[in-house]
Symmetry: C2
Subunit: 135 residues, 2 copies
């Protein structure tokens, strides 16, 4: 598989795939006789997992550490598990934060909706008075 095919399949640009290889996030890809990268489809699951780590906000330097551990075989299973467990806790905490934020947004939206209701009720359209403070 050529880099552009892989790019289409995984949703990253060829530029980004080369960048990831350069920094070590992707293993060095085999080259064909003319020097072009020839990927094995198995790389897709690794890229997909990296995507999960990225979505959950893991910085690249941590992914690099994880990749390094993954290259060291069984000996690093527990270290990797620990990394993922710590990361999972951070993600859970972040999700909780987001849910709290969603409740705030809900409240804000509701208060705007209410205010719009009241504004509509006041049929007499007095000149719009600018707000005194940001809400």
């Amino acid at each position: 598989m050529k880099i552009s095919d892989l790019a289409k399949r995984c949703g990253l640009s060829a530029h980004t795939l080369r960048y990831y290889e350069r920094i070590g996030l992707l293993p060095y890809a085999d080259r064909d006789r003319s020097g072009q990268r020839d990927y094995d489809a198995s790389i897709l699951s690794w890229i997909e997992f990296l995507g999960r780590l990225k979505t959950t906000g893991m910085p690249i330097r941590d992914m690099l550490l994880y990749a390094k551990l993954a290259d060291s075989g069984k000996a690093t299973f527990s270290e990797r598990r620990q990394m993922l467990e710590e990361h999972r806790e951070r993600v859970r905490a972040h999700v909780a934060d987001l849910e709290a934020c969603l409740r705030v947004l809900d409240g804000k939206i509701a208060s705007y909706a209410e205010a719009e209701e009241r504004t509509r009720d006041e049929k007499r359209n007095i000149a719009d008075t600018p707000a005194r403070a940001r809400t």
Copy 2:
């Protein structure tokens, strides 16, 4: 309230507060006779709300638009409500993504735990064979 007091209360640095004012995310603060910012405590709720927007991944340029609308009074209620509703949907989608990622992480962690179990069971410690691919 001086800038350092506000910084302590809101968890942003004085540098960041000045930066936010510079770009328009915070309203221009009153200065005392010697030119120092003198904040009203009411700014805290606005900063807190900005924090919610930030936590939920809203880019500063969108916060600026929201702030601009908020400065225009009642007339922009529905626009602001719409912005927040759209943002809320993005956040909800992101939370769903994160939850899917969490399930993947759970699976990965479980598989490491299992593998560690199996490794412990093999009392005969054969030399560690490096992994062939990243998992």
